[in-house]
């Protein structure tokens, strides 16, 4: 479904960010993309979507990522951006949801039907006519996911889905993501979320794949995580040392 073969890329005028990266994501897989800040998670997503040029071979849904296929690639790969404010640029949630389907040739009525379906699948029908600047961060994240779902992507690339959410909204979002029946690549620092939602983890370190394997194995490997600028997920690490000490005294 998504294939990277020896992919390297660099920002214009900058140094190389991804170095000879190779991996394959099969249909239906739930993959967590983890790594320290600057490891290349967001760049990898941008490269998959053709937003930055890359050397090597990237294919999505069998199509190589190049200028000719970009429209189809971006329909296949739905991307939920880290900052929902960047994703929701129209005045209302509904208009944002119509934007994608109408660009792909759907009529207004058909686009609205797709929007209704997407909102219903997230249980977010109440957001349909709300103004984007008047909804909370959690609602905005749901709406952003809905705008992507309305385009019926085969793979969802989700960048930092829980960033800035309170625990209740985080939990709600995890439930929503878990219920979505599509292939997912989730780039995040929230390792507990990865442990809960993903079967497989790709660990990046300075633009290369440091580890690729079952989530249960990689996320329990403290030395591997620490060597790559991460820590064990909270649920596996237990309460922090200082708090434990205080309790004991």
């Amino acid at each position: 479904m998504l294939d990277f073969q020896n992919v390297s890329c660099a920002y214009p005028g900058g140094e190389s960010v991804l170095h000879g990266m190779s991996f394959h994501i099969a249909e239906g897989e739930q993959v967590g993309l983890i790594g320290a800040n600057g490891a290349g998670k967001s760049t990898l997503i941008k490269a998959a979507l053709g937003l930055i040029g890359a050397e090597g071979r990237i294919t999505a849904g069998g199509l190589p990522v190049n200028g000719k296929n970009l429209a189809e690639i971006r329909r296949t790969l739905g991307c939920v951006l880290q900052d929902s404010d960047d994703q929701m640029f129209m005045p209302t949630v509904l208009e944002d949801m119509l934007f994608g389907p109408m660009n792909y040739g759907a009529s207004r009525r058909e686009a609205e039907r797709l929007a209704d379906e997407a909102l219903a699948s997230l249980g977010a029908e109440h957001l349909k006519h709300r103004r984007n600047h008047g909804i909370s961060g959690g609602e905005k994240k749901l709406a952003a996911i809905a705008t992507v779902l309305a385009m019926h992507p085969r793979v969802m690339l989700i960048d930092e889905p829980t960033a800035g959410l309170d625990p209740r909204n985080r939990r709600a979002l995890i439930n929503v993501l878990g219920a979505l029946p599509v292939t997912k690549l989730i780039a995040t620092h929230d390792l507990d979320l990865v442990l809960e939602l993903c079967d497989r983890v790709i660990l990046l370190h300075e633009g290369s794949v440091a580890a690729d394997g079952p989530a249960e194995e990689i996320l329990r490997d403290r030395p591997l995580l620490e060597a790559n600028g991460l820590e064990l997920p909270f649920c596996l690490a237990g309460p922090p040392e200082r708090r434990r000490e205080r309790r004991e005294t």
């Binding site: 971006r74 329909r75 660009n103 103004r131 385009m151």
Partner: protein, 266 residues
């Protein structure tokens, strides 16, 4: 709330006015746009001493605000920065044109005074009509109307994105101003020594944010031309409104209705 936040809130308030539901809001944006353009063209075409003929043109904005459920004071408040400039245009006329045109209560009124008042009225009426259009029609509706007039897609997309980008610019300015004042307590405004870096940062941040928004649009199939959700043709009522308004505006232009009403009572 700093000035940038206030400006952003005011901009959003106009957007919210345009989302209200009233008979004027429900009219086809194209019909409203055409009538407003005709109104402005006719208003500015009045001769400089034709104050009586021009007076009756106030009816269009007055009824528009009434049926659009928009308080006229909102218009004057929102346009408070522009109104004085419009009114100032003819201020020098009384000094250059001193020929007495008529006497009012024994006081001679010069052509300069009349032309000054005419210019002011033209400016105010045109601003009122423009604001009425903006307050009853969303920018997407206006852009869709322009597309139906075969205006190039690039131009309408540019118009729409410019309008939307203003809020981004104000957002960034608000955040930066707040950050500045948190570290410069008691200081009024941004110190002149920081203007250069402030503007530079504002530009960089706005470009960065706009780039992310643009990427988000590309990811959802944007190819340079907006597919406007509001592009459908309007109801028959819209075109009856347009025809009626156009007929009245042209009637007011070519028949001095004010003078006719006045002579009926004299």
């Amino acid at each position: 709330m700093n000035k940038a936040e206030k400006a952003r809130a005011e901009l959003l308030a106009v957007d919210e006015l345009a989302e209200r539901d009233s008979p004027v809001h429900r009219l086809d944006p194209l019909a409203k746009l055409l009538v407003t353009v005709l109104y402005i063209a006719v208003t500015v075409s009045f001769e400089k001493y034709d104050i009586t003929g021009l007076t009756v043109m106030v009816l269009f904005p007055v009824f528009g605000y009434q049926f659009g459920l928009i308080p006229v004071r909102t218009c004057f408040y929102k346009l408070r920065a522009v109104m004085p400039l419009v009114c100032a245009i003819g201020l020098l006329n009384p000094f250059f044109d001193r020929e007495i045109l008529f006497y009012a209560g024994g006081v001679g009124v010069s052509g300069g005074v009349v032309s000054m008042l005419t210019l002011m009225m033209k400016g105010v009426f045109c601003l009122m009509a423009s604001f009425l259009l903006a307050a009853t029609t969303r920018i997407e509706g206006l852009c869709a109307a322009l597309r139906r007039l075969h205006c190039p897609g690039l131009l309408t997309s540019l118009l729409l994105l410019t309008f939307r980008s203003i809020t981004i610019l104000l957002d960034e300015a608000a955040v930066m101003t707040a950050a500045y004042h948190l570290r410069a307590p008691g200081q009024r405004g941004v110190h002149v020594s920081a203007w250069g870096s402030f503007l530079g940062q504002l530009l960089l941040r706005s470009v960065d944010r706009s780039q992310r928004l643009y990427e988000s649009m590309l990811l959802r199939g944007f190819a340079g031309d907006f597919r406007f959700a509001e592009g459908a043709a309007g109801s028959a009522a819209s075109w009856i409104f347009a025809a009626l308004c156009s007929a009245l505006i042209l009637l007011f232009r070519f028949c001095n209705v004010s003078a006719a009403i006045g002579s009926a009572f004299m």
